[in-house]
Symmetry: C2
Subunit: 517 residues, 2 copies
């Protein structure tokens, strides 16, 4: 009988995403890697530029250091996704929509040695640094000037990014080993059937889970990264046409913005694959997007899972179903991608799997390679989600349908428990969205002496309605479409809903309002 | 500074190809998994059947046992690629073209606990067992009767395969952990751009490196495995038409057989992807195949690398080149696939990289995940190829072109060294093949007192030639197309060339003939 083997040097090379980029200058040499404004780089150039940045970095940082990037989806951000892991350092991309106070907290926690700052966000970062406690160490700042003149204030700034590209030292090779993102990069490419030489429009911020690992994915397949600093629908349609974009990603809100502002309402010349995540795509949006030539896929994951690890695997026999039924199936988060080893939905109290009946709510849990190694310097948060039973607890609530497909029902905090029954706020919201008078809706728990909690709806009405519905009419509308206990007991009309810095509805604020009613 | 992390249970699940199959009954449930003659299985059925076989197996075998399969590309062979790793056992598929003596040697060496034997090969295996040394342990035999009646001789046979499928025990879960083949399965799918729901025609024997990992690959993408027991061109064309085949693999000789016997010489209704490996596809065959609607890709690998790990990454700008130039580029083995971490060509004497000039010959070496763990019970062979410098030595000879693309020139034993110059026999052969009078050619070294060795060509002429070339004319033909020293000094005309049991030209035999001239 054969005994388990020790691995030998030849078969135990660490799996690193840097390997994808090292292969690109041969496999894709003169093929375009990045287009941005009037500049086009080739894969040979992107490889060389990244290597030169890594070389400059390696005289300042070493394995285990944190390097922060505060920048939009520009070439430098892409190159730093290669250069930082090439030095064995930890890449920390910060959401550029955050406020100075939050950025300050993040910088103090992660203690980066260097912060790369795009000129658009230099005042944000400089303000964040002024908020540091007096004993905190101020990081070195590297400005990314892009095509703008150098920033007026150079407080704390060292060499510019382009100077780091220009300086050619000898790079001390010191790779980040990242099995999880290696596996998830391959898995996300396969799951979305990304072919060789895709043209990827960067509407998804790279700071969101490294662009769901498609940063490295584009190096893997020799894709063209269409970078952009800011965007609106008109910019997106122009870039799609100009560069023959084949793939793009984003939250459903991005798809909605694109679809609602189609310049001609004409079908795209060539189909564009749109991978949506963050929330299910509502049925009307899905149908509208498909009629314009977008092919919508639906994935689900977290930053902690290196991007999406569940996806709504589409069965050919579903193509013949009615449009509304197809939309209902497509809205589910689906099955694990091939990089994820196990998924389950468990009763958070008892830790056992819920029934696969599409009704029993439980917490979504994962096992497998794409899970993060852990949170930086936060063992408490880490052990609360990576538990001793071997599962990663997502904090999200879902059901498993009889066919084994997962459907996310809520963030665990968004469950409303009324009379002992769990109510998913998103389920109530989706009914509200189906009301033709309502443009935006959010549902939160309102404390209730009798029921414990009741659903409280906040709605915005569409402009120019011939007649506006009353609170009673909206409640009645919900009662015709939901179990009685799930219909809102209260409806609050708002001009607009409060949002967080990442554009999500600020439910904490709405809960406070509901409590005070 | 962040210190290296221990991996936690949630992120360190072993990577096993069994996970692909466990996902399939959900992601691909009622989609066809296997079609064979009049039978169609779904992925739910294939999962259940494999699990039942694993269950039956787990009462007999355990982790580390060897299980041998001697069978053609039938459903049982596919299912055993799942069931055997599900038990933590080692799958050993034997080339069905071998003779009884060789099979006997293989069985004695690997000491399988069980041998699954298809009825077509039961006499082969039974004869092999009669050749065992008297002290060798005879394995248990499990007949696969397929749709044939039970074999007349049941010597040493235990339960049939279908009975093992029917028996439902409780399966002790004991997975084979196989990071290398996990990585190579994903890598091979991505490299060939295999989409969801491909229809894969099994012309490539599954016993060749597990069908280049596409056995597991089909479970990953929800493909349909079109199985077949034996085939010829007419069977292949019928199956392509009947099942809308999208993908198939094989050595160039298979492609040649298919292309030369196109029933109508008409273009295929839909293009079929053909992945060739084992040898480059000669230019005329490539052009002919493409004109019929085959899209030819070219990969290179070894059984030791779990399938192909190099492939001729195609650049869009090459599409505009002349056909002959495209064929020349396509014939190269190309760049590493994304699963392979490093590739090099080294001077075997000095161990340093050869020049990337397309001329300097050296041994092809690899590093990375897809490399085998080792040879079963053969530490000498293992250490001769998996060396302490961390490289796996392939024994194959190649050059690296200035663009970084590998071209395999020869098996190391096939290099002819004449006057201190290395001559690649395949290079001379490809010139011989370009002679319109020659149907088959092989070149070996002939000992020579002055030059050390000279190239000696063995050629078969085509039927019905208006005039047959002389030895001098063929040598002169080569001299016009090759450096003088590379042209054969001797040409031997043969009716047909001797072949090994796997259909390759038997060069050992030709060397003996050349020596005796």
């Amino acid at each position: 009988m054969e005994q388990p083997r020790q691995r030998a040097a030849a078969n135990s090379n660490p799996l690193t995403t840097v390997a994808f980029l090292e292969r690109a200058p041969t496999a894709y040499a003169d093929c375009p890697s990045i287009v941005y404004k009037q500049t086009t780089y080739t894969w040979s150039q992107t490889h060389r530029r990244s290597l030169q940045v890594a070389s400059s970095l390696s005289s300042i940082i070493t394995r285990g250091h944190v390097v922060t990037v505060v920048a939009p989806n520009i070439p430098a951000t892409y190159e730093l996704h290669i250069a930082v892991p090439m030095c064995g350092a930890i890449l920390n991309t910060i959401n550029t929509r955050l406020d100075a106070r939050t950025v300050s907290v993040l910088l103090c926690h992660s203690e980066p040695k260097l912060v790369f700052v795009d000129h658009q966000f230099s005042s944000l970062v400089l303000e964040a640094i002024t908020l540091f406690p007096s004993n905190a160490k101020v990081p070195l700042l590297v400005p990314i000037t892009d095509d703008e003149p150098s920033p007026s204030s150079t407080l704390g700034f060292i060499d510019t990014y382009e100077n780091m590209v220009a300086a050619a030292h000898h790079h001390r090779k010191e790779l980040s080993i990242a099995t999880g993102i290696f596996i998830n990069t391959l898995s996300s490419l396969l799951d979305w059937s990304v072919p060789h030489h895709p043209v990827f429009l960067w509407t998804l911020p790279m700071f969101h889970a490294n662009g769901w690992s498609y940063t490295w994915g584009m190096a893997t397949m020799g894709g063209t990264n269409v970078c952009l600093r800011n965007f609106n629908a008109s910019i997106i349609y122009n870039l799609i046409k100009r560069h023959n974009v084949t793939h793009m990603c984003g939250a459903p809100v991005v798809l909605k913005m694109v679809v609602s502002n189609s310049p001609t309402n004409e079908h795209l010349e060539k189909p564009v694959q749109f991978l949506a995540s963050g929330a299910p795509v509502p049925a009307p949006l899905l149908l509208q997007a498909e009629s314009l030539g977008f092919r919508v896929s639906h994935g689900y994951g977290l930053t902690e899972t290196a991007g999406f690890v569940m996806s709504c695997a589409w069965k050919p026999q579903w193509n013949t179903l009615a449009a509304s039924e197809r939309a209902r199936l497509r809205a589910r988060q689906g099955v694990r991608t091939i990089g994820l080893m196990q998924m389950d939905v468990v009763d958070p109290e008892r830790g056992v799997s819920v029934k696969k009946d599409g009704l029993s709510l439980g917490e979504i849990v994962f096992k497998g390679g794409p899970m993060m190694l852990g949170y930086l310097k936060d063992p408490t948060a880490e052990s609360s989600c990576m538990r001793e039973d071997g599962w990663f607890y997502t904090g999200d609530i879902g059901v498993i349908h009889p066919d084994g497909y997962l459907e996310v029902k809520d963030r665990s905090k968004d469950v409303i428990i009324s009379g002992g029954e769990n109510i998913s706020s998103t389920e109530v919201e989706s009914v509200l969205y189906s009301n033709p008078a309502i443009s935006e809706a959010a549902v939160v728990a309102r404390p209730d002496e009798f029921w414990g909690e009741t659903p409280c709806a906040f709605v915005c009405l569409k402009d120019e309605l011939s007649e506006t519905p009353t609170e009673e009419e909206i409640i009645e509308f919900c009662r015709t479409k939901l179990p009685h206990y799930m219909a809102p007991k209260t409806v609050v009309f708002k001009e607009e809903l409060p949002k967080t810095s990442t554009g999500k509805v600020n439910k904490f604020m709405l809960r406070d309002i509901a409590k005070a009613i």
